[in-house]
């Protein structure tokens, strides 16, 4: 166990700040998909490097919690490692790479492959919380549009996509309709993860530090990707491809170009490791 830094409050930010953030989280959970403004604090990490997610994690974490942090599915990339070291140094709590053991998971741009449970919280780092920014540059206007459910502009964008390309060309950050009320930016998760937001068992919290917004999808909430009846939303196609390391055919794959060779590997590294030990391990351990 690394040594804890002395002279700072538990989990770095002060208790008043935590209380504000928790209150904003409660509001966000009460109004699924609504962006709640909050006072984003200064942290020893630059804004835009996961400070929104980090502030949520820091204000929720307790001494008993077990933390996992991933960056695009990977436990060992720089962003994830730095955040883990920072939280460890200011709280002394234990860190894990195992999705099923963690109580709080902070993530950048992925949902772990293994199905999460009611006992866990998934915290997303969000670069751009406003899904309507694509079609409307003014914040005052996008707020009005959300308030009035005036979503025609983003639908026109999708319509024009089909006119031009015969399909909707949004890759990551696919806009979703939450609880029949708000259009929400699910953060830049791949399309593959979007259906997994719908009626999930886990509380999903989204934090945008630079943009100072918190929003949430409570467990068992309807989350629908925007689609036309005759141009359905579809996920990335991995037909006939499998992970070069563990052989999985049912996971989200990253493409790696190595000279002339193009291989695919699981984006979720900890689950890939589990599959290598036991190829038959299921993605869902939840009894249905």
């Amino acid at each position: 166990m690394t040594e804890m830094i002395k002279g700072y409050n538990f989990a770095f930010i002060d208790e008043y700040a935590k209380r504000e953030i928790r209150r904003k989280i409660l509001k966000a959970v009460s109004i699924p998909g609504y962006q709640v403004p909050f006072g984003s604090r200064e942290l020893p990490i630059a804004r835009g490097w996961g400070t929104g997610g980090l502030q949520i994690t820091l204000s929720l974490i307790g001494k008993e919690d077990i933390l996992k942090v991933i960056d695009q599915g990977c436990d060992d990339s720089v962003n994830a490692v730095n955040i883990k070291r920072f939280i460890k140094a200011t709280t002394g709590i234990s860190i894990t790479a195992d999705t099923l053991k963690a109580t709080i998971i902070q993530t950048r741009h992925r949902i772990p492959e293994e199905e999460l449970t009611e006992a866990q919280i998934l915290v997303f780092q969000v670069p751009y919380p406003e899904p309507l920014r694509l079609v409307e540059p003014q914040e005052a206007q996008t707020r009005r549009m959300h308030a009035e459910m005036d979503y025609a502009k983003i639908w026109v964008f999708l319509y024009e996509n089909i006119v031009k390309w015969k399909e909707i060309t949004i890759g990551a950050r696919y806009p979703v309709f939450v609880n029949g009320r708000y259009i929400m930016d699910p953060s830049p998760i791949p399309r593959y993860d979007v259906p997994r937001l719908n009626y999930a068992r886990t509380l999903y919290l989204f934090g945008a530090g630079r943009e100072k917004r918190i929003y949430a999808i409570p467990p068992f909430t309807e989350v629908k990707p925007l689609e036309f009846e005759d141009h359905r939303f579809r996920i990335e196609d991995f037909t006939a491809k499998s992970c070069a390391l563990c052989g999985s055919k049912d996971t989200f794959l990253d493409e790696i170009v190595d000279g002339d060779r193009r291989i695919f590997t699981c984006s979720d590294t900890s689950f890939c490791k589990k599959r290598r030990e036991d190829p038959n391990i299921p993605k869902s351990s939840v009894k249905k």
Binding site: A147, E148, I162
Partner: protein, 270 residues
């Protein structure tokens, strides 16, 4: 007598702080507080299936009047009612107003830059109205667009072009197609043919007449062009300095104007 569909009572729009004397002012500039009274205590009724012309010179308040009714401008005083709706529509909340704009009303502005979004295609502009009304089938939207483009005599092969690449007359037709998309009861035409050349103007006027007869839609037509008014309007209101100074059947007003200003206006026709 046919049923009224839109009734306006004492609509007033004052730019500036205003004072108790504003409404008594003879001109549209209040002599006491220097506020501009763009529209001064205007009352009117629009009956179903008619074309009501509003004529008057520049600055007489014609456009302010229709833009207030379309909620582009919020009036200072006054009430407006739709048939079957007891509340003053100016007191609706913004969501209800937007709904009225989308479903009950259509608008064609003089300048296509005001009525169209030049960042999206011609078809996209019209489709926006359908998408507002929760159309969620791409092929149905395309079918309805073809229908509207045919009705407004727009070439179908220009549907996916940007408005800036189309002629002025076509841009006005897109505005009309957009205004008609959700089959509104009321259409506001704010100088729809000004700035177009005569042959294009004539064809557009034919189109408006045809649409009005086919769809039995009620229209408020604002124009300073007496020829347009004569051709289209059943009844006419003459505005000056923000007030209605004369009203009546089109023929009656144009052939036998009573008010000295209307006489001047009719006589100055080329």
């Amino acid at each position: 007598m046919r049923d009224w569909i839109l009734k306006v009572e004492n609509l007033t729009k004052i730019y500036g702080d205003g004072c108790p004397n504003c409404l008594k002012s003879e001109t549209n500039k209040c002599p006491f507080c220097r506020a501009t009274i763009a529209v001064n205590s205007v009352s009117l009724a629009l009956y179903s299936g008619e074309i009501l012309g509003i004529m008057g010179e520049s600055g007489s308040g014609k456009s302010t009047l229709v833009r207030s009714l379309y909620f582009d401008i919020s009036p200072t005083l006054g009430e407006a009612y739709l048939n079957g709706e007891e509340r003053n529509i100016f007191n609706f909340n913004s969501q209800e107003k937007r709904k009225l704009r989308n479903f009950n009303m259509g608008m064609v502005y003089q300048s296509p830059y005001r009525g169209l979004n030049f960042e999206i295609t011609a078809g996209g502009n019209v489709a926006e109205k359908l998408l507002m009304a929760n159309w969620r089938s791409y092929s149905n939207i395309r079918r309805r667009l073809i229908d509207l483009f045919e009705k407004t005599e727009l070439p179908l092969n220009r549907m996916d072009d940007f408005p800036a690449t189309l002629s002025g007359g076509m841009q006005q037709r897109i505005q009309i197609a957009k205004a008609l998309a959700n089959n509104p009861e009321i259409l506001f035409l704010d100088e729809p043919t000004s700035g177009l050349d005569l042959s294009v103007q004539a064809r557009l006027l034919d189109l408006i007449k045809k649409i009005q007869q086919e769809l039995k839609i009620s229209i408020i037509l604002v124009s300073h062009d007496l020829g347009v008014i004569r051709l289209l309007a059943d009844r006419v209101l003459v505005m000056r300095e923000g007030r209605i100074i004369e009203s009546g059947l089109t023929d009656q007003i144009l052939e036998d104007p009573q008010h000295p200003y209307t006489q001047l206006l009719v006589n100055s026709m080329l």
